[in-house]
Symmetry: C2
């Protein structure tokens, strides 16, 4: 009999959340583990496996689970390893898929990076159902991407394709990026990028803004959003500048794979029209004529709190039974 | 019995060349037709079909031909149409695959753009044999590209993916491009782009150069190459600037699909190390750390005079027998 459930695990720098998911994309039982407190990955896997056993038992045990999908920063689909993830406590190459599988009676475990997991989730349960060609852009602390072409996720020859947060969007005087280079899209169009733009605007401009009431060092993208919703001109311009850069970058992405849609996901996507309107305008101005008006710009349809687990769990259906 | 031959047709703005090709990639018989002189596409197809009948007869007639592949500017793989090709005499949408097939007893005809045909040729007969993930960059009058991911050519949702000559490489004060926008890679890194760079350098600089002996309006990329081979400093710098921009762009392409190789083809690729060395240096400087040193930079292994026909012909093997 076909095994009826999968497990999704989303690994973040601080917390790991997981859940048992059925074929319709309902999270039946969920739990969490602390990522950040385990300097030794074996201790982490012990805590995680304990939690997983708990939720798996509630649906009838190991035999009911077709596979486990993991979304993790710098996760490599081909090797099942996390490789040199700057925001996780474990250094070097960690064979995480294998470690988890060994603790769970050999249930197959498939791993990919978090943005790829989000793309698979969107294709399985969300706005990309039925689409063969789309790009998922995650606008969170960083800018991530999952690219789907011909119905398949693009992993590249080494498993690391789809780093669209690190295309260079400003070649001269670009902002320093966490990757060590300058001018990456992520340095501008992430939540932290928006906060940096706010600090920059406040310093070089003199006009009034609600943001001037805040300690510049503590401004977050949420503050910029709140100010913009109160019609603060400077805050609105920050979203316009951010959207403009995203639209410019999207025009180049479309020249690459001509997707049916680009789908936005993550904290910054919650700004809605504040960010989508300038993206659309900028894309229309910058896109090559042959692609004009062809690519839909959409928001993710996955409930944000569930999306990461659902996306990872969708990978579980892909796993082959051993 | 399996049909033993295919036909490849390469349509350029002035001339069309075609040939009958066997399974090992040998062009057995070839011929040509005039593209530019036929304002009416039906007259063009008549001339082309006449020529094709001649070479097909020599290998034993229609029954020996598995399929016909066509590489044409703005050719759409999905529809078999040429759509709004600025360098061809026929305006609007031309159902060329159908027109050719009708004249040739219903032999299946598959059409794509010229850079995609080159990529398929390279994968079937050239430097990309055995590769699943690579990008073909054609450096000719323009800059074209054919992208292969997971062993399949990337067509996108509309058949027009892979316009990497039109990513924006200079966002401010960019050169006017033939596509109507500014700052496209093609405006710098094509043969015409190199000639433009030469004119620009000669105008704004004062140092000596062999190129000053030429009429600036008539300088071609070949002249810049000849001067560079004579150790002309300004000419060498033109290739360095061109290669640097290509390397910057390639770093972004790698962030997208993480290919095993990027393969250069076309007139400018004949500059060899003059262009490859600065590309490599620039790529190493600009590529995201996780991809450093992973992507091979190669020249096409197809003999240039045959490559276009071979590339198109490789599409013929893909066609389904009707």
């Amino acid at each position: 009999m076909e095994k009826p459930y999968v497990v999704g695990i989303d690994i973040g720098g601080t917390n790991t959340v997981f859940g048992v998911v059925d074929a319709r994309g309902t999270i039946l039982y969920s739990g969490s583990a602390k990522t950040g407190k385990h300097a030794d990955v074996n201790n982490y896997v012990d805590e995680l496996a304990n939690g997983l056993e708990g939720v798996i038992r509630r649906v009838g045990g190991h035999d009911k689970i077709k596979g486990i999908g993991v979304g993790a920063p710098n996760g490599n689909y081909f090797t099942g390893c996390i490789e040199f993830a700057p925001n996780l406590p474990w250094k070097g190459t960690i064979p995480l898929a294998q470690l988890i599988s060994e603790k769970l009676n050999g249930i197959p475990v498939t791993l990919t990076n978090d943005a790829n997991a989000a793309a698979i989730g969107e294709m399985t349960y969300g706005a990309a159902r039925g689409m063969k060609d789309f790009i998922m852009i995650t606008l969170g602390t960083g800018v991530g991407s999952g690219i789907v072409i011909g119905g398949n996720l693009v992993y590249g020859h080494d498993g690391f394709a789809g780093e669209l947060g690190h295309v260079i969007t400003r070649r001269h005087n670009g902002r320093k990026c966490g990757c060590g280079r300058e001018g990456c899209l992520e340095a501008y169009a992430s939540a932290t990028g928006v906060a940096r733009t706010a600090r920059e605007y406040l310093e070089i401009r003199t006009d009034e803004s609600l943001l001037r009431n805040l300690n510049p060092d503590e401004i977050a993208s949420k503050d910029v959003y709140d100010a913009a919703m109160k019609n603060d001109k400077l805050a609105i311009e920050i979203f316009e500048a951010t959207g403009t850069m995203l639209g410019e970058a999207f025009a180049d992405f479309i020249a690459f794979s001509s997707p049916e849609a680009i789908i936005l996901f993550g904290g910054l996507a919650k700004a809605g029209d504040l960010i989508m309107k300038p993206i659309k305008e900028s894309l229309d101005q910058n896109v090559l004529k042959v692609f004009a008006g062809k690519t839909k710009l959409l928001f993710s349809q996955l409930k944000e709190s569930d999306a990461a687990v659902l996306g990872a769990s969708a990978l579980g259906w892909e796993t082959k039974e051993i």
